[in-house]
């Protein structure tokens, strides 16, 4: 009798759970960006927002929670309600580096990522009129003048900085990295001739196509919209890196909803128009779904930790 009751009850619960899963989302989802408006994290989220309602019938509401290079928001992620209606943008290498510097209120493996949807590949950028026509020119110059090649880049412990450290080692050169507040300031310094080159992103090449040249991009294959720029791999350096962006949920979010969110973001990622817009902006799409996240994070953590240690960003 009792077993029957339990059975019936669990059946009802099962049906209920299934039906709620079907109904998700039945109200707007808040999408928290751990940075201020106007940055690349915001713009890529806005690209997703534009397609969300058409696909899933609900609004994706973007909220900003800037502070501490994102740390403030990530430290509060797990305190949010885990019902699938609160999701948060996550960025690499930030969530790997920050907790290893000091106690920032969260640990890398406390962040439950459900999808990594794109990365902006690192690239060496020079002005159009620069004497560095190829990557080899730059390497030759740097070998003759150790430390004299100045690179602007966005901040320290960032994708740009870690790429610089890794590339210096691969090429056996010594260069100077000058950190700026964000990519905009870094590009301004390059265009103004304050530095010889810049560790920037492919998006810089797309945005300032008339003024800059990409000596090499840190991708597996050439970027479809920047076909002139060779990859580091082609030139003999095994460097694939960039600023990775994904979406995480609070730890208390049920498994079924995690999977569903992951599928939803994957669907946006497959929209030809979304792909086109992202690639026009110089981004590279990525499809790491919920299942693939642990392996991806393990791999990236290892790479970034090593580079950050060499860069002296973490002890």
């Amino acid at each position: 009798m009792r077993t029957l009751k339990t059975l019936a009850l669990s059946a009802v619960v099962g049906v209920l759970a299934a039906s709620t899963a079907w109904a998700f989302p039945d109200k707007p989802i808040s999408y928290i960006i751990p940075f201020g408006p106007g940055g690349e994290s915001d713009i890529t989220a806005r690209h997703q927002q534009a397609f969300f309602k058409g696909l899933f019938g609900q609004d994706l509401v973007i909220e900003y929670k800037p502070g501490g290079s994102g740390a403030v928001a990530w430290a509060q992620l797990n305190a949010a309600k885990g019902d699938g209606y609160t999701i948060m943008g996550i960025n690499l290498p930030h969530i790997v580096i920050q907790p290893r510097q000091k106690d920032v209120g969260y640990k890398t493996d406390e962040i439950t990522g459900v999808y990594m949807f794109h990365y902006t590949p690192d690239a060496i950028v020079v002005n159009k009129d620069s004497d560095f026509k190829t990557l080899q020119d730059l390497i030759d110059y740097a070998k003759k003048n150790p430390g004299k090649v100045t690179f602007s880049g966005s901040g320290k412990g960032t994708a740009n900085h870690l790429a610089q450290v890794r590339f210096d080692k691969m090429a056996g050169i010594k260069t100077t990295y000058v950190p700026f507040k964000g990519t905009g300031a870094s590009v301004t310094a390059l265009l103004g001739g304050q530095v010889l080159a810049s560790w920037g992103y492919t998006s810089v090449g797309a945005k300032h196509a008339d003024k800059v040249r990409l000596l090499a991009v840190a991708m597996n294959k050439r970027h479809p919209k920047l076909a002139d720029a060779p990859t580091f791999k082609e030139l003999g350096f095994d460097l694939v890196s960039g600023a990775y962006r994904g979406i995480a949920v609070p730890k208390s979010t049920p498994e079924a909803i995690r999977v569903q969110l992951s599928e939803m973001i994957g669907k946006i990622n497959a929209m030809p128009k979304f792909i086109e817009r992202m690639e026009n902006d110089g981004m590279a799409l990525l499809d790491v779904d919920y299942k693939g996240m642990p392996a991806f994070m393990a791999e990236m953590t290892e790479v970034y930790e090593k580079a950050a240690r060499e860069a002296g960003v973490i002890k």
């Binding site: 100077t176 000058v178 301004t188």
Partner: protein, 503 residues
């Protein structure tokens, strides 16, 4: 040059309505401390998905320009800059309001804002591509010296005790270091707490340091908040227009300063109005009376900060480098629309959206005159006639919700209140808030400029040339010396001359 067709495109009834609504909404947003133009513009981004892009942009520009003007209200009436751009407006605006000229100050601010806005927009329309190069000519070391130039204002703001001003500035500079460092990404001065991780947010610090002491003193006595010396005189528009005409050079100079500083992506409205204030004070015949409610000061700061709107769009549209945070959001909206920025926007056919937008900006700025006067009048009346038992809770409540909304953070509210109490105590002992605020705002610019210039200088083995060998830097250094020593020299000179005339 753009044709009349773009003007007509901007003048559709819908666009007029959006520009009008945008200016009104922007003015209100700007007047409420804590609500920023950036936030208001960001909220509108989804509109660009459904609305005609040019129309949505016009509305965004209108909100932005309205917000920069609206910041003057709270600066004048409750000594709290509604936006960082209005910090310097408190210097003369609040003393004016205290002695009963709040209505005049608001009307002056309105005229100055419209004038500055038009100048900035005119430069954007006519000279954007060449002027964009200004943004590139400023390197780290120039920003460093610009920040130092801003800090020289402390000498004139510290009301008699320079040492206390300098200490306040140091405190502000240290406070600006709290949290995750913007460029070295080290975590500083958090002393193990997570509350300080995000640093001290500028706007909440402004609210705390400027507004809370006013509230604390307001609640303690039954006296009126602002003096009323006269019966309602209406807008005092003629009087304000007269003052504006007499000091037209001040308006022109401040608007040009505002435009140029606006072009610099690392500076922004707060620095523009500080520099304009400093110059107005230096060149005024009445510089002695600055700090006690000089209309020229309000004119300078308000024309300069509205000129940064047009100025800031110059690098945004020509180079794709946002001049100010709201510009970054608007640039994002353009990118989502697939508009590619660049000089092409100003020469080729695809410029239509940009020219429609610029004419929309003109339109919004002109609309600001009537709406600004009316809203300003209303704001003044409200603050003056509201009984204290409603004014104090109203403003206190606004500081709380405003501070919260900047980063959706309760700990920012606590920080704001604590800073306010600290600021009040310091003020009792002669340490005024403005040097601390100056340090807080200029700190990151000075630090980043210094670190970058030092790194580049050391790499190229030319440190001296880096700091003292670049023409723009030398120009700014010259201005630093002028603003430090000119008042002393001039006083001596006047003294000597009067002595000679006396004998």
């Amino acid at each position: 040059m753009p044709g009349i067709d773009f003007l007509l495109a901007a003048l559709t009834p819908l666009n007029l309505l959006l520009a009008f609504g945008g200016v009104v909404a922007g003015t209100v947003v700007g007047a409420l401390p804590g609500l920023t133009a950036t936030m208001a513009v960001a909220v509108l981004i989804p509109l660009t998905f459904s609305l005609e892009p040019a129309s949505a942009l016009i509305m965004m520009g209108a909100i932005y320009t309205g917000a920069i003007y609206g910041g003057a209200y709270s600066a004048i009436l409750i000594n709290t800059p509604g936006t960082p751009s209005a910090i310097a407006t408190t210097f003369e605006g609040y003393p004016m309001a205290k002695r009963g000229d709040g209505d005049l100050a608001v009307t002056l601010a309105c005229i100055a804002s419209v004038f500055g806005g038009l100048v900035g927009a005119a430069f954007l329309l006519g000279l954007a591509p060449p002027l964009a190069n200004v943004a590139l000519a400023f390197g780290p070391v120039e920003y460093f010296w610009l920040a130092i130039f801003g800090l020289t204002l402390i000498a004139s703001l510290s009301e008699g005790n320079l040492m206390k001003g300098l200490i306040g500035a140091c405190l502000g500079l240290l406070l600006s270091c709290v949290g995750v460092a913007e460029i070295s990404s080290d975590i500083r001065f958090t002393f193990g707490t997570k509350v300080l991780l995000g640093g001290i947010e500028t706007v909440s610090a402004l609210i705390g340091l400027y507004c809370l002491p006013v509230l604390i003193d307001l609640v303690a006595t039954p006296g009126r908040h602002l003096k009323i010396t006269h019966e309602s005189k209406g807008f005092r528009f003629k009087e304000a227009l007269g003052i504006s005409w007499r000091h037209k050079m001040n308006l022109v100079r401040s608007s040009v300063i505002g435009t140029i500083v606006g072009i610099l992506p690392g500076a922004g409205g707060s620095i523009a109005s500080l520099v304009a204030y400093s110059e107005a004070r230096r060149s005024s015949k009445r510089s002695k009376y600055f700090g006690t409610g000089e209309p020229e000061g309000v004119q300078a700061t308000e024309s300069a900060n509205n000129a940064t709107v047009g100025g800031g769009f110059i690098p945004t549209l020509v180079l794709g480098i946002p001049g100010t945070p709201p510009d970054a959001v608007i640039l994002g909206a353009l990118l989502i629309q697939g508009v590619r920025t660049g000089p092409n926007l100003f020469t080729q056919g695809e410029g239509s959206i940009v020219y429609t937008f610029i004419f929309g900006l003109f339109l919004a700025t002109i609309l600001m005159l009537p709406t600004g006067l009316v809203i300003g009048r209303y704001a003044y009346r409200t603050i003056v006639t509201l009984p204290k038992a409603l004014l104090v809770p109203g403003v206190a409540f606004m500081t709380i919700i405003g501070t919260y909304a900047i980063r959706n953070s309760v700990s920012d509210v606590f920080l704001m209140i604590i800073l306010g109490v600290v600021g009040w105590v310091l003020n009792r002992f002669g340490f005024s808030a403005s040097p601390i605020v100056l340090g807080l705002i200029l700190g990151p610019i000075a630090e980043q400029g210094f670190v970058q210039a030092w790194t580049i200088g050391a790499a190229t083995e030319n440190l001296a040339g880096m700091f003292f060998g670049r023409p723009i830097s030398l120009g700014i250094i010259a201005f630093i010396f002028i603003s430090l020593f000119y008042p002393v020299v001039r006083e001596r000179w006047i003294e000597r001359r009067s002595r000679r005339h006396g004998t």
